[in-house]
Amino acid sequence: MAKIVIDGVEYEANPDNNLLQECLSQGLDLPYFCWHPSMGSVGACRQCAVKQYRDADDKEGTLVMACMTPAADGAIISIEDEGAKSFRSEVIESLMTSHPHDCPVCEEGGECHLQDMTLMSGHNYRRYDKKKRTHRNQYLGPFVNHEMNRCITCYRCVRFYGDYAGGTDLSAQASHHHVYFGRHEEGVLESEFSGNLVEVCPTGVFTDKAFSENYSRKWDLQTAPSVCVGCSVGCNTSPGERYGSLRRTVNRYNSEVNGYFLCDRGRFGFDFVNNSDRLLEPVQRVDNTGELLADDQVKAFIKEFKADGTIGIGSPRASNESNFALRAMVGEENFYAGYSDVEHESMQVLLGLASDTAFHSPSVREIEMADAVLILGEDVTNVAPRIALALRQSVRNKAKDLADESRIPQWQDSAVRELAQHDLSPLSIISSAVSRLDDVASDKVIESLSVVAAMGHQIANKISASAPKADCSAAHDQIIEKVVEQLKAAKRPLIIAGNSNGSEVIRAAANIARALYNFKDNSVIDLCLLVPEVNSVGMSLMTNAKNPLGAALKKLHDGTAKRVIVLENDLYRRASRAKVDAALTAATKVLVLDQLPTSTTANADVVLPATAFSEHEATYINYEGRAQLSFQVHQCKKQAKPSWRWLCDAEHVDDLVERCCNEVPGLVRLREVLPGENPFIAGMKVPRQSHRYSGRTAMTANVNVHEPKQGEDKESVMSFSMEGMPAQKDASVHAASWAPKWNSNQSISKFQDEVNGELKQGHPGCLLIERKDSSGSYFKPVSDSIEPSENQLRLVFSYQIFGSDELSARSKPIQARMTDAYIGLSPKDAQKRDLRQGDVATISPLGSPVVICIRRGIKAGTALLHCGDGNISPADFSGLIEVEKSATQTTSRGIGNLIVSDFHEEEINS
């Protein structure tokens, strides 16, 4: 620890940090633009100038940039010095010379870092009376708006987009005060993280396009701490509601999970909540028409289902509480998994590994610390996008090591990058197709899935001879050797796999991790196993291993079970059409709870409307077994209720959590995520509305001039009003980040222990799965016995960030980026079948239409199937398929929304 003096007050400081970080960590106000907590300093904007003094006798001092000066022991600085203050106000005055008179018509207004800093720096009146430079804007796709006039050239956008997120299509162009940040030509921003530009840009150059269409100022949004339901990472979000509709999602800081950034699925996928197709009333199907049900009719129905012979099918996208309520209602033995049987099997393997003491499931922050990564058979960018962003940071650990050797501080962003050039930590990808991480991969092997798994086993065997050998051709020996060396040499190696394509790759990945564990004298190895949905882990912890979905469908089909309750799940995505049809027809009564109509609700006798993630309080468990609490943001004014409320009599979500803890062995610690008593200081709740929330007495005045009573929330520590505990006093439930003088999201530093640290009083979630099984052993490699005939191709399922997730695929902005179902083929296979890019083909066995997508980076003999949001169910296919040109050539979306530059590089776009 170093001691530094700021304006005569002595502070403890971390000498590895710079002065700006330390000032902010101490809660002092110092303006800045180009510095970002996760991107370090470049000293471009000159806004954080302070006076530094040589010693106590030095009265003159020199101006230094706080972000470029280390917080060395004994540093004496002054923020309040008149010279420093006037320097800062002149700097911002010159930054503002061309800033347009736009604030009233700018989406950033009211949460603008530039507004805050202008005020903080004391620049009030414009003296510059010459002409303002102007710029033409670009169309940047459905997510982000561009308004270049507002730019103050801090370079944060390109530093995030290019340096941090690895995007290649946003750059700084032209020179001096003509500098322009945009694409080389108009077009959709390709990075999966483009939405973060909205939060990274300190002013309104990049704004949220979807939000702008239903705009509301930050202070008018009703917000609550929420968890993204787009994938299994469980990023923390702050959705905002106004006039009854969900308006936008922004990042909510969680030091362990998402930090400062979200992926575009998370940011723009919330809109399904506002979908006009939402199920909002209990409906009974009578002769193919819907008939509304009254309360007592629903009750009678539920009572009927409480009899014997009822089974329940859970859902990996429903909360723990809803799954538990269903399980409690039908009994554990009648509660079945809500995902495909293939996934069920791999989930069992995964759960076994989750309790093994040899492994550690790394959080996103820990993934960033890995210094050698091996990805086995998983397309991380499309399955768990936020982790792909973390992996892009992990490859920079090499640069950080080099910087340490040269005694360059980590925060010296451009110096560290210059030093390392293209020197990256090893990241090897062994999978069946190209991926969006290939540009930072040290090695990339494209092989069929069985070879991928075999290579995994082979790597394990090479690391530790105790691991079983696999049949693996010698073709890749060199790379295997290299990967083995890299993993052995690493201080913190990381193995990533997932269950998108069966369990064999998971087994291979586990063997590698175990071999490393043995090699490194039993030091715990990071093994990150990805699952596709928000609560896949939670549901699987509640499901008996002997209860896969297939067994449930069989029971219904053969009449052992008569009635079935399907919880927030479209069974047609989970099992083959024929089987689901047979089961639902055989069942005497089918009850489905869901938010949106699906093929399953269409075949139900009764459909009960369930609330969406923003309309109820719930807990979810992410890929690493981290339970997190998501609060209710707004009330559903129609008849939708949380699924558990339809199914059980519990009064309170806390009661269910309590019962979960007692009755489900894997969820014993779930209650730890519930907020403690302190949010209730003096009986005060935490307000969901900001203290400037406007329009209370006019919002509903058109309906009735007498204001309605404020919505009551009996469930949580939050209230639907502006009144209550100010977040400044207690931030344990922290939705919208705001602090006096800090209206933008940069105010987060006021809530952190230190910059990039944990939230004060915050809760990063609770790791549920205890590791106590030390008896784990190697898996035996299982080789793929199916040999394709001449016309057949090996099938691999491919996920898409936009479209694979069932709910976000119903969100309008996401739909604008989705493709049709497509099949990826190698040029060779395509030529053989006389197929060209964008053609429509049919795939056996059902003859479903798919669009052809030809990529060089697909193993010949392998077909990559993306099921889209249409009628293709992954469960209808297994192992081998045939592809034939279709007679009809009509598509709705086509594959035009796939990333253009990927095709461009491959030069096969016809």
Partner: protein, 179 residues
């Protein structure tokens, strides 16, 4: 006793005289509503939304009036035309809550919302005191005749391209190498 009687009588006679003498004094009371009082232009009465000199709606739906309002009686929703001009989709003032403080006018960056000298706002039904944009929007510029926000702002709208606002240079040609 005598003094008391004398004082009482004098007092009554004086009072009668004073009342009588007022018969020739000019009355202060005006015959409202037949005679309308003069209201000063800056009187804070009924709120209106004005138009700019080109006859377009001045309100850009920035929400500043709503947030400035101490009784929260203004609610509006921003929307945008095809060419980028912001305007309110709806704009509602609940006059039964309004306290005529004029903060909204002070906060308005476009001079759209203005308080006028009209004070005759009583209604028999409270519900009738809720005014929508159709009721609030007048055809003129109100108290401020010349200001047109979009001529100053940098945002491009229909009829005004980039670089055409006041004090703006023509848009930069990013591909030019000239200084």
């Amino acid at each position: 006793m005598l003094t008391l009687i004398k004082d009482t009588l004098t007092s009554q006679v004086v009072t009668l005289w004073r009342v009588f003498s007022h018969l020739w004094v000019k009355a202060d009371t005006v015959e409202y509503p037949d005679v309308q009082p003069y209201m000063f232009p800056r009187w804070r009465g009924r709120i209106i939304l004005s138009r700019d000199p080109d006859g377009e709606e001045r309100c850009v739906a920035c929400n500043l009036c709503a947030v400035a309002c101490p009784v929260d009686c203004i609610a509006l929703q921003k929307t945008e035309d095809e060419e980028g001009r912001w305007y309110p989709e709806f704009f509602r003032i609940n006059f039964s809550r309004c306290i005529m403080c004029g903060f909204c006018e002070e906060a308005c960056p476009t001079n759209a919302i203005q308080l006028t000298p009209d004070f005759e706002m009583a209604e028999y039904k409270r519900q009738d005191m809720v005014w929508e944009k159709e009721d609030l929007l007048i055809d003129g510029t109100g108290k401020y005749h010349d200001y047109n926000f979009y001529r100053v702002a940098g945002k491009k709208i229909g009829g005004k391209d980039k670089g055409e606002a006041r004090n703006e240079a023509v848009p930069v040609n990013v591909r030019s190498l000239l200084p």
